[in-house]
Amino acid sequence: MRWAAFQALLSHWRRHPLQLLTLLIGLAMATGLWTGVQAINAQARLSYDQAAQTLGQDRLLRLEGGLTLADFATARRAGFTVSPVLEGRLPGSTLRLFGVDPFTLPPRGPATPDLTEPDLLRAFLAGEVVFASSETLARLPDSLPPGRILDGLAPGLVMADILAVQTYLRTEDITRLLISDPDLDAADALADLFPQAVLSQPQSDSDLDRLTDSFHLNLTAFGLLAFAVGLFIVHATIGLAFEQRRPLVRTLRALGLPSGALVTLLGAELALLTLVAGGAGVLLGYLVAAALLPGVAATLSGLYGAAVGGSLTLSPAWWLSGLAMAGVGMVTAGGHSLWHLSRLPILAPAMPRAWARAQGRSIRMQGLAGCALIAAAAALIWLGSGLLIGFMALGGLLVGAAFLLPPILVSILDFGTKRAQGALSQWLWSDTRQQVPGLSLALMALLLALSANIGVSTMVGSFRETFTGWLDQRLAAELYVTASSPAQAEQLIAWAEPRVSAVLPGVMEDVRLNGTNGQALAIADDPTYRQNWPLLDQVPNVWEAFAAGQGVLINEQLARRDSLWAGGQVAFGADGTRRVLGVYSDYGNPLPQAMMELSAFFQAFPDAKISRFALRLPPDDAADLAQEMVTTFDLSPQSVVPQAEIKAFSMRVFEQTFAVTAALNVLTLGVAAFALWASLTTLGTMRLPQVAPVWALGQTRRTLALADLGRALLLGSLTACLAVPVGIALAWMLLAVVNVEAFGWRLPLLPDPGGWVLLVVWAIIATALAAAFPAWRLWRMPPAALVKVFAHER
C-alpha cells in the first residue's frame, strides 16, 4: 500500500516534468550559489591560515619593528631562543617571499622543507633554491632560482633563506623575531634589548583574516541573497505541486492511507528531491567557485596582498556539507506546505484558491512588518556602528522593502480597479490584483535582485568615477622609477635632475600609527602635490606647515578609524606624536598611513634609503627619457614605468575587485527571472478556473494570453520602478556605511539614471520573457482543456 501510494505521489512529477525540473533547478541554484560563495571564502581562509601557520607563527610570541640580523645574533648571544623571519612581496609580482633561518627554526612548525639531500642545504643557504607549494611553483618568475615542492606552504608564498630574501627585497632588515620560549618574562626581557621593536602576542586570526574580513562578508551577503532568491523558486514549485496533488491526496486518504504515513511519504519525497538537487547544487557550487576563485584570488592579492590559491582544495566532507544547506532550503520552502497538508480534513474540497486567498489576508500584516523592518534598519544606522550592523541594516532594508511590495502593488491595482471603465477593463485590473498573492514571492525576488543590482552597480560606478579621478590626481608625475639599490637611485636621480622639471623621491617605512602597524611615507615638498592632492580635511596653510615639517598628513582610513582629523595628534612610532595637518584619500590601501615631508621623514628614520622616485617632465618626452634611462643604466624595463601603465594596473585591480560582484549580480538577476517564470507557469495552471469563464463569455484565447502578458509586464514594471529607490537607498548604505566600515573610506554617491533606466528595461524584458511561455501556452491551449474546467468538480 505504502509503496503504491509513494508511486502514486511520485507519478505527479512524471506527468509534470517541467515542474520537477523547475524545483530541482531552483534548489540546485540556491544551494550552488551559496556553496560556491562559501567555498571561495573557505578556500581563502584556508590560505590565510596556512600563511599564518608558517613556522608555527600563529602560536609564537614575536618581536617586530626595526630589527636586523645583527639584532638576531645579539638576542641569540644573550641566550634567547629566537628565529628571524623576513617577509615581503617580491617586487613586480604577487608572490610573497618568506625568508627563514634553517638553523634556529621554531620546533614542530608545519611545512618545513627537507634539506637532507646532498648539497641541498648549501644551495638553500646560497640562495640557489627556494621552496613553494606545487601550485605556486608553477608561476615562479625567472628572477627566482629553481623551486622545489613543499606542500603545506600557503599559496603565493615562497620560502627561501633569509639572506637570499634580503637580497631580493633589497633590505638589511628583518620583519620579526619569532620567540620559541613561551615564557613572557623572558620575552619582556628580550623586548627591553630592542626598544624600537614591539612585542606581540601570538595571533590565532592572522592579519590577513582581519584585513579581508569585510571582503568575505560581502561575498557571504551575496551568497545569502542568491540562496534566498533561489528558495523563492522552490517555494513556488512545491506549493504548486502540493496544490495539484490535493485530489490525489484525498483519494489516497479515502483509500485508508493514514495521515502520518502520507506525511512521511511526502517527507521522503522531499528528502529524495533534496538529495538530487543538493548533489547537483554542490556540483554547481564547485563550478561557480572554480570559475570565480581566480578572480577573487587576484582581487585579494591586488587589494590586500593576500595570497589565495587559484584552485580548490577543500575536502569532500566540506562539499557534502553543502547538502545540508539544500536540506535547510527544502525545509524552509516545503515545510509549510507539508504541515498544511497534514492538517487537512480527509474530504476537504480540493480548492486551490484557498491557498492564495489565505495569503492575501496576510498582506496587511506584511506591510506592517515591512515598515517595521525599514524603521529598524534606519535605527541601526542611526545608533549602531560596525560592519555587521551595516549588513544587518542592509538586510532590514531589503527584506522590509520586499515585504512592502505586495501591499504597495495591491494599493496601486485597487486604485486602477476603481478607475477602470468597462467590464473587461475592470476584470483585467481586479484579476491582476488577484494574482498578486500568488506572484508576490516571485516579485519580491525580482525586487531584491533588481535593488541589489542597482545598489551595487551604483556603488561600483561611484567608486570607479571617484577612483579614476583620484588616480589622475595622485599619479600626476609622468614617470615612476624603481632603482635596484639606494646607490643606484642616487645615480639615477643625479642623471635625471638636469633632464626633467622635477624629481620627486619617495620612500616608505613601516611604523606604528596610533597603536597599529602602518606606513610612513615621505614626499618632497613640490607644487605637484599642492596642485594635485585634494585633501578631505586640512588645517589652514596646510602645505606650508607640511613643508616646515610641523606635522603629517594621514590617510582617510586612519582618520575615520580613530576619528582623527586636522589639528589632532597621531601617535607615531615609539617616540611620541605628530600633529595631523590634513587627511587625504588613499583608496585601495588597507593600512593606516602617514605622509611626511622628506627631511622630517629622515629625522624619524635616519637609516631609510630612497630607492623609488617619480619624474615630472613634458608628457611627450616621457617615453624617450624612459628609454634613454633604461639603456644608459641597463635597467629592466619594469624599473621605469610611465604613468599610464600604473593607472592601467590600478584600474585592472579595481575592475577585478568588482568582477566577482558583477558576476554574482547577473546570477542573482537570472535566478529572479527564473523564479518569476516558475511562478507564472504555476499560476497559469492554477488560474485556469478563473480564465475559463472569461473565455466562455467570448474572449478569444489570444486576447486572454495578451492580457496575461500585459498583466505580468505591469507587475514587473511596477516592481522594477519600486526597485529603483530601494536600490538607491542600498547604494547609499553601501557607500556611506558599509564601505566606511569595511575599507575605511567614504565615497560620494554619483547617480547613474541612464543605468537605472536600462536596468528597469532589462527587468521588463526579463518579465516579458518569463511571461511569454505561460501566455503562449494559454493561447495554444486546446478549447477542450478550457471546457474541462466546467466539467471538473471544482
Binding site: R76, G79, P102, F103, L115, R122, A126
Partner: protein
Amino acid sequence: MNVKAALFLIFLPTSLGAQGFAGLGQGGDGFALPQPNPTFEFPADHGAHGDYRIEWWYLTATLQDADGTRYGIQWTLFRSALSPEGPQVWMGHFGLTTPNAHHTGEKLARGGVGQAGVDVLPFAAWIDDWSLAGADFDTLRLRASTPAAGYDLNLDANGPLVFHGDGGFSVKSPSGQASYYYSQPFYDVSGTLDLPGGPVEVTGKGWLDREWSSQPLEDDQEGWDWFSLHFDTGDRLMAFRLRGAEAFTYASWIAEDGTLTPFPDGAISVAPQRVSSVAGRSVPTTWRLALPAQDVDVTVTALNPQSWQDTLFPYWEGPVTATGTHTGEGYLEMTGYE
C-alpha cells in the same frame, strides 16, 4: 625544517659508512688542503680557516670537587664550509659527565651574521650564549649551559702549545690524508658546575684541541677512538686509532715541558678490553694502551660508561682513568659505533 638531518650528512654521516665518519671522507674539491711542514701564525691561526672544509675548537677537562667526586666536561665548536666560497655552518656541543649522569647539549648556527664565530684577539669562540673567551688563548673562561646543567670555568695555560704529527701536520691514513692539528694540553681549570642538585666548585685539568682540514679521512675509515691522558708524572699522551679496512694509529708523547714526540702508525697498540651497552650499541669502555717506546702499558676505564652524546651524529665522549705503568686521568672519544 629538516636541517638537522642535513647537518648530519655534512658533519658526520655515520649512516653512510663508505663516506667516512663526520663526512670527513667527502671530497675536498675546491678547498685548501693541509700541506706538510706547516708554519703557524698566532693568534691568527686560533681563528677560523674558511678555506678549509671543517674545523674545530675542542675542549675537554677532567675535574674534581672538594669531596673527591670526579667529573668531566666537553665543549666543542665546529665549523663547516658548505662550499669553498659559500655558506658556513657552525655547531656547538656541550657535554657534562658525572659518575652517574651525562648531560648533552647542541646548538646550530649560520655563519656570517654573528650568531657564532671565532675572534682571535681578544680570543672568543662562541655560538649563541655559549662561549670560550679571554684576553688571549692562555687565559680563557668557558660558559655554557643546557636547561638541565651548565658550567662556568676559568682556564689558565701553564705550558706551551704542542703540535702533533710533523710539526702540526697530522697524517690520518696510510695514503697520506692529513689535517692541521695542535693542542693546548696544559690548562689548569677551576670554576663551578651547575648540576641538577645545585652548584659544585671544581678544579682540574683541561685540554684544548685545534684541528682543521678538508679531507682528513679515507673513504673506508668509519670512525675513531681518541685518547688524551694527563699522567700523574706530568707527562701527557694523545693517541688515536682510525678504524677502517686497516687500523691506523698515531700517538703524541708530551713531556711536562711541552716537548712532543710523535709516534707513527703501529707504534701504539690500542685494544678494547670490555664492551658496554650504550644507547643500544656496543661500545668499548675499557681499553688497553701500550706504547712500548715510552714504557707505557695502561688500562683506561670510563668514569661513566654511559657518556653518550646523543647529538645529531651521536658519539661517546667522557672522562677516563688510567691505571697500570702510569696513572692519570683523561678523556676518551669514540665515534662511528653503530
